[in-house]
Amino acid sequence: MKLKLHIWRQKNARDKGKMVTYEVDGIISDMSFLEMLDVLNEKLILNSEEPVAFDHDCREGICGACSLTINGIPHGPEKETTICQLHMRHFKDGDEIYIEPFRARAFPVIRDLVTDRSAFDRIMQAGGFVSARTGGVPDANAIPISKKEADLAMDNAACIGCGACVASCKNASAMLFVAAKVSQYAHLPQGQPERKRRVLNMVAQMDKEGFGGCTNQYECEAVCPKGISVASIALMNRDFFKASVTE
C-alpha cells in the first residue's frame, strides 16, 4: 500500500519544529508501524536526508521506549497496543497518517519524535521502591500473600512507563503512572512500612516536574497499552489524603 505521512520534524530541543509530509510506497500489511517508518528512513538516507528519529527498542511491547502519537492518539488506534505492536493491516492504501511525539510540558522534545521522559525516573527516585537492601531479607514464602492481592499488585506493576497516559491527558497528568506504582506496593505487605511517605514523596515530585492534575476524564486508561485501571488513581487519592492528615 501507499501512504501519505505527516511527521513532526525538529532538529533538537532548541529548534522550533514543523510537520513535514512524506510518501511511502510498498508497505505490506504484515509490517509493524515502526517497520513502515524503517522503510521511510531507508529511503530518506539514500536521498541524503536525515532519518526520522523515534524511540524504540524491544519492538515487542514491553520496554516502553516507543512513544508516537498517531492521528492524535498516543500509540495509535488499537486498544492495549504499543505502537511497535501495531501492524499495518489496520491501515489501508491511500491513508494519510499524522505522526507526532508524545506531547507534554514535562516531556520536552529532544529530536523529531523523541522526547525526554526522565521526569518519570525522578518520580521513581522519590519513592517508587521498597527500601530492601540486598541480603538480610526473609524467605520468600515467609509472608503469604493472597492470590487476589498478588494479582492486583501485578495488574498495576505491568506499567511499562511509556508515558501515553500523560500524552493523552489534556492536563498532561502523570496520575496513572504514579498511581500504578503506588497501588502495586499498596497491595503487598512489603509495601506497607513506606506506604505513606511513598505516596507523599512521589506526588510531590510529580507536581514539581510540571505534570497536571487529574480531572477524571479517563483518557489515560483508554490509551494505556497495559490496560491499567483508573481505580488505581482512586486508591492513590485515598492514600494521599490519609497520609496528608496523619504524617
Binding site: 539514500l46 524511540d55 520496554c63 540486598t134 506493576a157
Partner: protein, 637 residues
Amino acid sequence: MNLDPKIPSGPLAEKWDNHRFEMKLVNPANKRKYSAIVVGTGLAGASAAATMAELGYQVTALCYNDSARRAHSIAAQGGINAAKNYPNDGDSVYRLFYDTVKGGDYRSREANVYRLAQVSNNIIDQCVAQGVPFAREYGGYLDNRSFGGAQVSRTFYARGQTGQQLLLGAYSALMRQVGLGTVDLHTRHEMMDIVLIDGHARGVVVRDMVTGEVQSFAADAVILATGGYSNVFFLSTNAIACNVTAAYRAYKKGAAFANPCYTQIHPTCIPVSGDHQSKLTLMSESLRNDGRIWVPKAKDEKRAPNDIPEDERDYYLERKYPSFGNLSPRDISSRSAKEACDDGRGVGPTGYGVYLDFKDAINRLGKSTIEARYGNLFQMYERITGEDPYQVPMRIYPAAHYTMGGLWVDYNLQSTIPGLHVLGEANFSDHGANRLGASALMQGLADGYFVIPYTIGNYFATAKTEKVTTEHPEFKRAEEEVRGRIDSLLALDGSRTVVSIHRELGKIMWDYCGMARNEQGLKKALELIPELRQEFWENAKVVGDGENLNSALERAGRVADFLEFAELMCHDALNRNESCGGHFREEYQTEDGEAKRNDEDYTYVAAWEYKGVGNEPVLHREPLEFENVQLQTRSYK
C-alpha cells in the same frame, strides 16, 4: 595470556563460603573511597550498581536507553529458576547445579555453576522483599512451573512478564540509590571504548547520544553488564539496539573472548514473514508446558492444520524424546524443528515453521485456564500474525535468542584485564554450550546482587591502584580515537544503508554459523565477512552530524563492530571440531542425527586473543575439570 580461573579450594559445596571468608574486605569507612563504573542497567548492571552503592562504594552507571528501565532483560517472559524445592518434587541446589552443567553440555565451569545454584534461592527472597509480584497459589504461597531441560518445577514467574518485573525490582533499587545520591546515572550515553592505565581498567569513553559530546569517566574498576550479541544475526529476539560494542572494545584492548560460537537458537519464535522484518518475537518457552509441537507426516501438506487427522501428524519431540517430550532443551528442540523443515514438512507460507498446538490442553483444562496462563502471549501472537491461537495452532520457528559465549571471566567475574569485571549475558561463565530456560534471569541477578558486591571488594583491597582522573593522557588519547572513529563513520557517503549491510551480515551468519555449521560453510563465511566489511567502509552511507541525536550514526558504529566480531565467531566455530549444545557441527553427529561431543580434545574453554582486524585471533585454552559430575552423552530420550 593468564587464564587462571581462580577456583577456590575445598569441596564444591564449600568453595563459595570459603572464598567469601578468604577474600579481603574493605572497611565500611573506606568504601566511599573506591569507585566503579557499571556499563549497562539490565538485570546484572542495575542489581550490581544498586548493591554496590548500598555497600558504600561510589558508583557511576551508564546506559544507552532513555531510562534504565528499558534494558532488554525486560523482555524475558517465562521465569526465573531457583532451587527452593517449594513443590517438594525433589529439587535441591545440587540438582539445579547438575541440570545446568548437563544442560550446558559439560562445557561450563563446575564451581561457577554451583555458586549460581546456591545463590538462586537468595534471589527469590530478595525480589519478593522488593515487591516483585510473583504468581501465587490460593494459599498465598509462591507458584512454580516447569521449564525445558528440567524434570522438576523450579521456575518462579510473574505472568508472562517475569523479566519485566525482576528488572523493575532492580531498577527501583537503582532509582532509590540515584535518589540518595550514591549512584551517578547517565542515560542516553553509549560506551565507545575502555581505558587501561598500567594494564588496569580505569575508565570508559562515552558518547552523549543527545549532544554528541565525547567524554570520559574514571574509576577504580569497570564493570561491563552489556548483554549478548545475538544481533550479529540481524534478525534475533534481541532489542534493536543490543550490540557487541562494549564487549568487543574490551576484547580489542586485550580481554579474552570466550566461546563466541556458543549461540542459542530459541525454538519458539514467530516465523519470519518477509524481508521487511526488523526483529523476531519470542513466544515464551513456558508455552511448551501445555502446547504440543507437530508437523504433518506428509511432505508438502496443503491442508489447514485443523483438517489434518491425528494419525497424519508427527509430534516429533514426543516421538524422539519421550521422557522430556515438548520440554526438551532448547538446542535439541530447535534442531528438530530445522530437521523437519529441511525434510520438506515445514508449515506456513515459507515452509519454515512448525505447529505449537493448544487444542488438547484447551480440551483438557478449559479455555479459561489456558487464558489465565498464557493470555498475554496469545494476544501478542494474534497481534503480530493476525491469527487466533485459540482456534488454529500457533506457527513457530527457531530464532537467535541468547549468547552463551562472552568475555572470559574467572571465578571473581574478572576478565583477563585486571579491574575489568563482566556480568550477566556479557560473560561466558555459567551456561556452557547451551543455556536452560529461566536461567538467564537467575544468572544476571546472581552476578549483580550476590557475586560482584563481594568480589569487587576483594579487588579494591588487593589491587591498590593509584587514583587517576580523566586528565590522564590515556583518556585524552582514547577520546581522540573515538572522535576519529565517529568522524570516519560520518564521512561514509556511499550508496548503501547501514541496515542493508547489517541484514546481509545476518544472512551470512544465519546460513553458515547458525543452527548447523560445517567446515566448508564457515570457511566461506570467513571469505564473505571481510568483503562485506570492506563494502561497509567503502559503500555505506551515514547521514547527519555528530552534534545531535543521530540514530544512523549509532547504528553504523554498532554494525562496524559486528562486522569484525562475526569473524571471531566463525573462527571459534571452525576450531571446535565437535558438536555440543548450541554449537552443532554437521560433520560431528551420530547416525540418528544427535550431537557428538569430543570430550577428549575439546573439554576446554576457547579464549581468544585479539591480533588486529582481519588477522586470525590466537586461541588460549582453559581446561575444564569435572570433579563432581561425570561427563555423559546428554540424553533426553
